[in-house]
């Protein structure tokens, strides 16, 4: 268990839950917020740099740490990358557009 925790800590410090770039390559990502998420974050659009290949989950954690209320909605959100629903583990690359989408209620 201790090993796992240590490994997790290393993993975290290596960038999983942090956007502090330790790799030489960074990727600029356009981030969009909709519905209640836009109200929580306070704006509809952002542009951030992440380590190239960082997963969408890490990008969300970045916003969740500065907006704790946002993190509460994690289980009821879907993410998208370049206008397609995407798994949280999807790696990000420069020019990607990511959106965090609350449950949809059109119609």
């Amino acid at each position: 268990m201790a090993l796992t925790a240590q490994a997790m800590a290393r993993y975290t410090s290596a960038g999983y839950n942090s956007l502090v770039s330790l790799s030489s390559q960074t990727a600029r990502i356009k981030v969009l917020f909709f519905g209640r998420l836009k109200e929580i974050v306070g704006h509809a659009e952002d542009s951030v740099e992440v380590p190239d290949g960082a997963p969408i989950e890490a990008l969300f954690s970045h916003y969740g740490s500065s907006h704790p209320e946002l993190a509460l909605f994690r289980a009821s959100l879907v993410a998208s990358r370049n206008q397609e629903f995407a798994a949280w583990s999807t790696p990000l690359h420069s020019g990607d557009e990511v959106a965090f989408l609350p449950p949809v209620s059109g119609g």
Partner: protein, 159 residues
């Protein structure tokens, strides 16, 4: 298959939806049926009186998902054409928020395709409505779109 000379009409609009134009767009001499769905703004929600609704969308993705729905119903059902328009912005009670028209040679395909289109739209197209009441406003309960399978266990956001 969609007629390439007169393709499906798929749109997000801010002005009132012109239902007659959508119906006209899909109907043709070879069709025996046009089935429509008119989604309207209800005056109550969860026992409270609704004043009006405000719709917003991730527009580029929403249009992409509506196009996917059109492609899916052409694949699944022997229909002729489909028109789908969803309105955005503030809508008053009784106004049309979404309108779907499907034409086909025989009615079963148009009924089935129209039902499939609205059900899929409500579950997959990134559009959200905020409900305004006398004492406040809430984002409507929505449906979780089907999430892609994770390639490794995803962790919840750390607190």
């Amino acid at each position: 298959m969609a007629n390439l000379l007169q393709p499906d009409l798929l749109a997000l609009v801010r002005d009132p939806i012109d239902q007659a134009a959508l119906i006209q767009h899909v109907r043709a001499a070879e069709d025996g049926a046009v089935v429509t769905f008119d989604g309207t703004v209800r005056n109550h929600s969860h026992g409270r009186r609704t004043l009006y609704l405000d719709y917003e969308a991730y527009e580029s993705m929403a249009l992409g998902k509506i196009r996917e729905i059109a492609a899916q119903i052409h694949e699944k059902f022997p229909i002729h054409l489909v028109a789908i328009a969803h309105r955005l912005g503030r809508l008053e009670i009784g106004e049309t928020s979404v309108f779907i028209a499907v034409s086909s040679a025989h009615r079963p395909a148009a009924f089935d395709a129209c039902r499939f289109a609205i059900d899929t739209l409500k579950g997959t197209v990134p559009i959200w409505k905020k409900e305004y009441f006398e004492d406040g406003a809430v984002w409507a309960d929505g449906e979780m779109p089907p999430a892609p399978v994770e390639t490794r266990a995803a962790k919840p956001a750390s607190q």
